[in-house]
Symmetry: C2
């Protein structure tokens, strides 16, 4: 008898769903607008319909689904299954999302987890970490999300908020972060803040081919920084180096904390490719201790945007086993 | 039928041993010089004799001992039971210490762990962390050692070197640490480096009542700093504040990493008392994010120097259960 697992990635704009076989091979996918501005019931109905659609497309019925994985952005009380309040879901107030989705799907087991943790678990199960047991994961986007795998399991923390790795402070009294702290790695090295630092430098008059971009578009994106880096712009190189150094420092700190075998970077910024990865490794080697030789691998994620649906399905499968 | 557990704390100068009942109540203790400069066989014989002595004094025989816990300073291959080379044991080269001690004690199960991890487990089992499941531990001495308890277990890492928390970098390109890195929390905030920073400031001409100490003794100890702080010396206050801030920053970083319920400081420096603890809490509250209210407890250890023997016995007991 075959069974299939559903992974749901609940984003602020889109809901993405995958239906996977028991080997976590993707059989079908579905996607629908979240309609986060509407009532929670609408959002849950959208998730349920997309889930049902993906299962039908894969040639199965909901009776073949032992469990569903659901990834959502934090903060949330994941172990209680409740979103109290979340930036991306303005109408959500103390929504028992796990129970509501389970009820809508006829009492299915729902595994509810933080989206960065879920993407981490996806890479661990089927991507850049599939051959190791201990891994640290960073996703470089608007912010920096994190996940920690210890002996094959996600590290949860006492209140489900472990691995908020973007808020590790590396420059005390440094740049102000959206979280209210100063000097978080996120405040320097997220995709958004990498671009922002470039714009600030241009505005301060540092010479750069990025000035034309800022003048014409009114903003600089992270992709602009890497495009101009590849074209030889000096400021783009400096901005990239600062990002790489910040990420290397946080790699060193994680090595001394949970001691992973592999550190995986994901998110839009890794499109920069080897030019970024090699600089992270350079700074790591320059700043790491010499008490013993370290052999941690630093690499990029391989699953792209599917890490969320794969990770959610993998967590559903793990919960049943 | 009763059984007893032995905890051995192998230091560079002294071996300390405790014999504990199954509730981890201390029944008898023994202590002997390590004789680390001699052959490993001598050190092992010293440990074994002290263990046998403590058991006899408690009124039991070695047949009543299901397992022995052994704590030693790192680096070592703990899961393999081998000390390759260690600063405090100059003659040790690839010593299979776990097997040698087990053989000497008639094949007993020996649990071998890093001394900071063992002290952490001691405080977790019977001290400042006995009512929580998730804890982070720092010992403030010559260096800064660390331990992490996650869901009731020591977090080990892929190569038994997790929780080297003293080497978390908080001031990139800052003070040089003995480990070769710059800006480790240990380089600012260990007992030794707290005292050293005071001496450096006095030597640079900062006015302080500590100048007399330096002139008369040729050095300043951490105790001197706190004594002069209590007497109202301004430099001693500045040095203490810098130590407290560094420790608070590393507390914030650990909160965002493994998210403990409690953070426990141990080691000689905590003799400073409330005047240090309250400053750590002040800096923590000043620098922590405002995304949500944090309720982690920051406190001092309660077991003193017995944390090692208690932790080692507790690990032995856990291994048998």
């Amino acid at each position: 008898m075959s069974e299939v697992y559903i992974g749901i990635d609940l984003g602020g704009t889109f809901i993405k769903v995958g239906c996977f076989d028991s080997q976590l091979k993707l059989l079908a996918r579905a996607s629908t607008p979240t309609e986060a501005e509407k009532d929670a019931k609408v959002v849950i109905e959208n998730m349920a319909k997309a889930a049902e659609q993906s299962v039908a497309e894969a040639g199965f019925s909901m009776a073949d689904v032992p469990a569903v994985g659901l990834a959502s952005p934090g903060p949330a009380k994941y172990s209680e299954g409740i979103i109290e309040a979340a930036t991306n879901f303005p109408t959500f107030r103390n929504i028992p999302i796990r129970k509501m989705l389970s009820d809508r799907l006829g009492g299915k087991t729902i595994v509810f987890e933080n989206d960065a943790n879920v993407a981490c678990f996806g890479e661990f199960t089927a991507g850049a970490g599939k051959d190791v047991d201990d891994m640290v994961f960073f996703t470089l986007g608007t912010g920096i999300g994190g996940g920690i795998i210890n002996k094959g399991k996600l590290l949860a923390g006492v209140g489900d908020n472990a691995a908020e790795l973007g808020h590790i402070i590396i420059y005390p009294d440094g740049r102000l972060c959206n979280c209210g702290q100063r000097g978080c790695v996120e405040a320097s090295a997220s995709a958004t803040n990498t671009a922002k630092r470039a714009a600030e430098a241009v505005e301060k008059g540092q010479p750069s081919s990025l000035k034309k971009v800022l003048d014409e578009k009114g903003e600089i994106t992270c992709k602009d920084v890497y495009d101009h880096l590849k074209a030889g712009d000096k400021l783009a190189r400096q901005i990239t180096d600062e990002t790489a150094k910040a990420l290397a420092l946080v790699c060193i700190n994680m090595l001394h904390t949970t001691e992973p075998k592999r550190i995986v970077f994901a998110g839009g910024m890794i499109a920069a490719g080897e030019i970024l990865l090699s600089r992270i490794k350079d700074y790591f080697n320059e700043h790491i201790w010499n008490l013993k030789k370290e052999t941690v691998d630093i690499c990029f994620a391989t699953l792209g945007e599917d890490a969320g649906i794969i990770g959610a399905a993998a967590l559903a499968k793990q919960a049943v086993e």
